[in-house]
């Protein structure tokens, strides 16, 4: 099966600032991808590139095998729920469904009506009068009822209270189970997406820091604690993500596929949040290994 999303050397420049650079990514189908990173890391830029709202400044991106050109056929296969889940304030809930039916050839009216019914939305209510959670649900309904193959969501839960956040994710996951969608959703909090996602992309400072299957990431990252040691003396296949030292003790967070055999280390597993925070907390030099850690790069 081909990747639902593939980026190669993808970059986007606003003026002289790169909002996204050197982005290489391949997302297999059928996944729920969490795109995680601090605000301003380039998450929105990436998603907007993926739906063709922006054109790349460098490299290329393919969505469902074609470049996001905005053609009608591709539009129908990709759903997008934008940041702050925009809706037409003056239009009613029913008007929104009508809009969706008019603008999408594959519109699933039964699904849309059923969802609105189940969510307890009053069809005559104007979207401007809905709560943030209801508006997000309405936007999600529009995104789902067009029956896309890939659904992209830009910080869909950021502005929701915890209950609405949970309901939104429950609902989204239900749709994923029902429709075999591939989903990419961005968030600046890992905890938001931890349960919902099975694939993680960490974006910091306009660059992809790490990407992969979550279970695989958890299985290959370890925290090593032991007597103080120079990171250069670690085995070559152990890639240091972060390190901290006291005068006697060293703590490393390493990524390696091989088992850790050195008996001097106490090895512990990481939670997803720890793992992401380790990548986010890296200093600028560490994030660009090609510049500051040539030895490591050569060894890999």
């Amino acid at each position: 099966m081909t990747a639902v999303l593939r980026a190669q050397g993808l970059g986007k420049k606003y003026g002289r600032r790169w909002a996204l650079s050197d982005c290489d990514l391949e997302v297999p189908p059928g996944r729920v991808v969490g795109l995680v990173g601090p605000n301003g890391a380039g998450k929105s830029t990436f998603l907007n590139l993926a739906v063709g709202m922006l054109a790349p400044s460098a490299g290329e991106i393919e969505v469902l095998g074609t470049r996001p050109t905005g053609r009608r056929a591709q539009r129908a296969k990709v759903g997008f729920v934008g940041q702050d889940t925009p809706t037409y304030a003056a239009l009613s809930v029913a008007d929104h469904l009508r809009l969706g039916a008019h603008l999408n050839p594959g519109w699933d009216a039964a699904l849309a009506d059923d969802r609105v019914d189940r969510l307890g939305l009053d069809p005559r209510q104007r979207a401007g009068r809905l709560s943030g959670g209801q508006r997000a649900q309405l936007a999600l309904t529009l995104g789902i009822a067009k029956r896309p193959e890939l659904l992209l969501l830009d910080e869909p839960v950021a502005s929701l209270d915890p209950l609405a956040r949970r309901e939104f994710l429950q609902d989204l996951m239900g749709a994923v189970a029902d429709q075999q969608l591939s989903v990419v959703l961005s968030s600046h909090l890992v905890s938001d997406v931890e349960r919902a996602c099975d694939y993680l992309v960490v974006l910091v400072d306009s660059r992809v820091q790490v990407a992969g299957d979550i279970e695989n990431l958890l299985a290959t990252h370890h925290r090593l604690t032991g007597p103080r040691r120079d990171p250069a003396k670690l085995p070559a296949e152990q890639l240091v993500v972060s390190e901290s030292h006291t005068d006697r003790q060293s703590t490393f967070l390493v990524r390696t596929d091989a088992p850790i055999l050195d008996p001097a280390w106490e090895v512990s597993q990481l939670g997803l949040e720890d793992l992401v925070l380790a990548y986010m907390g890296r200093s600028a030099e560490q994030r660009n290994p090609s510049r500051s850690r040539p030895t490591l790069e050569a060894l890999r």
Partner: protein, 345 residues
Amino acid sequence: MIWLTWRQLRGSAAVVLGALALAVLALAVTGPQLADILRVSGTDFFDRLGTDGTKKAVFYLGTAAAYAVPAVVGAFWGAPLVAREVEAGTHRLVWNQSITRTRWLATKLGLAGLGAVVAGSIGLVVTWWCHPLDEAVGRGYTDNGPFSVPRLWPELFGSRGIVPIGMTVLALAVGVTVGLLVRRTVAAMAVTLAVVVAVQIATPVLVQSHLLAPERLTTTITATNLRGIQMAGEPGAADPRIGRVEVAVDQPGAWVTQNRTVDPDGKVVEFLPAWAEDCAPAPGTSPDTAVACFTRLAEEGYRQQVEYLPASRFWALQWMETGVLLGLALGLVGFCFWRIRRDLT
């Protein structure tokens, strides 16, 4: 998409078209009365009309409406068309339905453009209403009031015929373009309003007077065809001189664009010779003095050059000016289609 566009536009469309409908009603009721008055009157037509306050009000209303429509359509239909969507972020919603941006914009522009044509047709209604006036002007009737101003004159030209349609469509295109560039509704409306008014002011100077080659007429200045003399310098000064002479042409309803004096070499005269002061009618001088003066002017080779568009060119000029305005609108629309396909988040 047509449904959505209609749903979004219907409010402001109702307001504008409703107001126009009222104006059309007023014109429709009073129009036939004008024709009746013309039928029963002769040269006193304008005198009879001059006392009719209602007709004058309707005349001003119609003219004002024809001039206001472009600005209103540009600011209230054009500017928010894209700007409101971008401002509210709803373009991200609608562009991610299964519709291309080009189609989205085309539908919006198409429907709003249709509305603009309908709204701009107020100019045709005004033209119909004013038809008796224009006919009276054509017969050479005149007075000093607004009713007898020829429709070719820049003051009225833009409110008659099909030019309001062209101007309204252009204003719509200006509004959409500004909205796309400014991306904020209120600011876009203000800028659009300013631009449209500026275009309306500039059109007579920059467009209207350059479209058709005028008729030329060279004539001697006589006491009978003299229509005005402009004295240079302070009146009663030691050496008042004649700076400008205008003569009348026997072309009722014509738009005179040039009316100047040339010397025997064909050069434009800035000041007539000092003795020409006698030509100016002044209290206490015998008319013979003036006649002698005009004869001398003619003998010394001074001629008056007049350029004008005859009343018969009205529709030709209307079509050409409308064409220019629509051409500009098309250019802006082209830009919008180009811009909409570029980055917009």
